[in-house]
Subunit: 308 residues, 4 copies
Amino acid sequence: MAKVLTDALLASILERVRPLTAQGQVADYIPALACVPAEKLGIAISTVDGQHFQAGDAGERFTIQSISKVLSLVLAMGLYEEHEIWQRVGKDPSGQPFNSLLQLELEKGKPRNPFINAGALVVCDMLQSRLSAPRQRMLEVVRQLAGAPDLHYNTLVARSEFDHSDRNAAIAYLMRSFGNFHNDVIPVLKNYFHYCALEMNCVELARCFLFLANQGRAAHLPDGLISAQHTRQINALMVTSGMYQSSGEFAWRVGMPGKSGVGGGIIAIVPHEMSIAVWSPGLDEAGNSLAGTAALEILAREMGRSIF
Amino acid sequence: MAKVLTDALLASILERVRPLTAQGQVADYIPALACVPAEKLGIAISTVDGQHFQAGDAGERFTIQSISKVLSLVLAMGLYEEHEIWQRVGKDPSGQPFNSLLQLELEKGKPRNPFINAGALVVCDMLQSRLSAPRQRMLEVVRQLAGAPDLHYNTLVARSEFDHSDRNAAIAYLMRSFGNFHNDVIPVLKNYFHYCALEMNCVELARCFLFLANQGRAAHLPDGLISAQHTRQINALMVTSGMYQSSGEFAWRVGMPGKSGVGGGIIAIVPHEMSIAVWSPGLDEAGNSLAGTAALEILAREMGRSIF
Amino acid sequence: MAKVLTDALLASILERVRPLTAQGQVADYIPALACVPAEKLGIAISTVDGQHFQAGDAGERFTIQSISKVLSLVLAMGLYEEHEIWQRVGKDPSGQPFNSLLQLELEKGKPRNPFINAGALVVCDMLQSRLSAPRQRMLEVVRQLAGAPDLHYNTLVARSEFDHSDRNAAIAYLMRSFGNFHNDVIPVLKNYFHYCALEMNCVELARCFLFLANQGRAAHLPDGLISAQHTRQINALMVTSGMYQSSGEFAWRVGMPGKSGVGGGIIAIVPHEMSIAVWSPGLDEAGNSLAGTAALEILAREMGRSIF
Amino acid sequence: MAKVLTDALLASILERVRPLTAQGQVADYIPALACVPAEKLGIAISTVDGQHFQAGDAGERFTIQSISKVLSLVLAMGLYEEHEIWQRVGKDPSGQPFNSLLQLELEKGKPRNPFINAGALVVCDMLQSRLSAPRQRMLEVVRQLAGAPDLHYNTLVARSEFDHSDRNAAIAYLMRSFGNFHNDVIPVLKNYFHYCALEMNCVELARCFLFLANQGRAAHLPDGLISAQHTRQINALMVTSGMYQSSGEFAWRVGMPGKSGVGGGIIAIVPHEMSIAVWSPGLDEAGNSLAGTAALEILAREMGRSIF
């Protein structure tokens, strides 16, 4: 029998996964990420009928990292025709670590999907070509979706990521050598790292991504952000490619479209019902939040909310 | 507005995709497959509340080929503990063609998932170890699920596949060299090709796979075939890995768990609602039925039946 | 100043490299190889002007393993036109471990060169097609070249290798799937393992391979074994591909065409001057004799006998 | 019977290979290279006993391109201890195209050898770290070796190469991400392209590289350029890795250490005897001069000058 959603249920789930916060590995490839306390743990839910639930450190902001790849894609889908996007980036799982160059070389600089680094960089290159101030535009959209006018980039983190960006630069230059990257590499990388360094808390993330559970409709955007069709497509992409190379495992265990970031955040969608945001900085080997995934697994089971 | 399901709706969908039957490529790696007429086109649906719909060549049998990989897995899940299965085969998309050896070598003989050839061969090896007559057992189960006591293997096709089995033999021997294949290669290959050469029509396929839409419950099996939990897991696997390397594209377009075979059949599941079987022998580049995929895409859109 | 070649010089070189015999790793993938004492150490030289030198365990036989790949190739060069051979196997370094399937799959079943396992198996497949009793023929030729009528195969080792032949079977089946392997896999594998299990000592090996230093001429074969042109070609192949993936390192250190076997033997050629055989069972990471390579390096330096 | 070396012999060899000049493909990845006339054909030889021979367009300058990789390595060997160099770059054939990233990623940013692009870029990075004006220093050394004080860089070509340097930038950034590239990428790339754009003719090239046939001794450098040991090592490297992925084929056909450039030049060494330079802009699939390789093959055969 599926349980009723309450703040207390969320809190009890957090208690059950809390021991896992000690087992994950906090991302440490830049100092600014390594210093986030591993014991942080939060969850928030927004429903399409307007309810909000939360527990733990749901009000504390962290950098959303790769979760921003969904937002970049949404922005690009508003600026380009479908075929313009999907001739430059694929829709299929990569089967490779998120930052691999192997596949990219074999496949002539076309990334497998927009949620691996190469794909996200192509999407950012597209934003660069059509927006005069892409970084500012991203901020406006996210503030509106999250209902949080004070959201901002953590420029310290953004700069630190840029200082460790050799591999992403290699990826961008490789795509450029195949003609699939049109702007100068450096400014696009800088914007990309700013999107990654956007600071949000679980409550804001759940609100922000509610449109994916609601056929593209967003509270503060009367016309909707994207179409119902595009919403389904993004959810499909998240199921098959949202969790790096363990997307299959995540679908198996949780059964929801999801997208993770190395900051420890995950957003997950129950189409037509709700958006969920969890946060716990300790990561598993694939780079997904260890306790966060476990919390989503319990939630799915107890509420009977798998899409399968 | 979602349309109501009727035989006439199915027939009209077939007419819309019929031009595509001329564009696909009928599998021709063995003569017995190459001679199937490309213009065949059929569809059938079974719903969890007991309705059945069909159109076109839905009553004509064809070899189910890789669709049998789902059935092998279901059998193995009844014979082994979960951990026994998943330590020998993964749950994640491979990102590679279905019969590639590259990944298998790098990953020490553990296939990425049970729906690529390597994974299915490991599952067949498991069946071989625990069943005295695996080929007979498979037939009994499928006859019961499909409610068709006269189902049989096309031994001509099975033998022909075996005569062209060098690559699958290479895959099996490679896994054996890593200790992940326990029985003699030849008899397991022979069984594998028999499962692939099982002949069913769309009506029988839809009935057979209804349990995946019905939490594991099957009409003629009072205790259910597998648990609701296992059912969700298989559906998840089909979404992320069921359509070879274009699983992402299929999720994007159709939005249902599905599994295809090079005979031109596809089964697709709307959890809690229905199972769908389509058949059209012409394949796209990834080896999935071209017209069949298009029919499912239209069906999903017109009935509003994406899982996303 | 180059030193004069004497038994005493060879003995002194062995003493200098003897400590290395304790550092290598004796091949242990089959029991029959694992039990060879690691402290064995021998060397022998035959010169084109008829002198013979030796030191250490030069009279003790061991299985020549991959050194036999040179002999298979020589036999094939006598049975086939040049183009028949080189359209089925390449002449370039593989850059991969000796038994890798990766490259073979990408390059459609054509092995890079005849000294990796895949290439040697193709050559053995060619012998199988043209010789009624290839195993007997190989033995006759080698007995004649070595002047040792009692040479024989260690059938215990051959059988043990066959019992661990899954990876080689995978390689052969993969080439068969590309049409580059024509006979049944099992009998070719059995012959291949017999060639590998040929037992020879350093003195016999040096005599046997003297033809490579002597433009193809062999003492007991008045017409010569192969042409001067073919001799140069084989020496070239040994320099670029004879020592698995550390052929470049070997050329750098020793500067002679060479071929090694996992039994710990190496033959090396100084064109127009001499053939050298060394034996020490402990291997380095690439599978080449550790002390054997070091002995050749010292020999090359002290006698000024690099080809460069 | 080996023929005597004369200008007439060289001229006759050129005539025999001249038809091949129409079959190769002139490098066209930058405009400045694409406009070199395909029918150019020249050869020059310098011997250790002071003779010089030449034929055809031996006096016309062209950009030496990858031949400069040997010179960079020689410079680095004068500035660093052996172990400092070879811990950052390997000595083995890559088995991959000259500009591949695949292997570099798998092998943690350590290039296989100094003659693929990645390896040459690491060597240039080393020069950058130890020389205040590396570009000027290279020019001085080459002018001295070639006895041609007016040698210079074709800055138009160097700039054009830099404008098409995305893939080399990707390679450098990838190595940087592994910690195997220490300086800023852009200035090192610029120097690298200048070395490639050094203009020399066959006569100058043969003189310049005579030290490799002469144990490191050079006419205008009383102390020798490098040691006899280092000379042997470089010749060994050229045999196993000097001709991109067809080094094995080149050793098989020509049997000399050699290094080619996409400008159509090749230098080849007969140790202790002579250095040879050929030029013909049309390239084979691996990027080596088609007619140039054929000329060297004939020369080796007619003079009996293979090292094997």
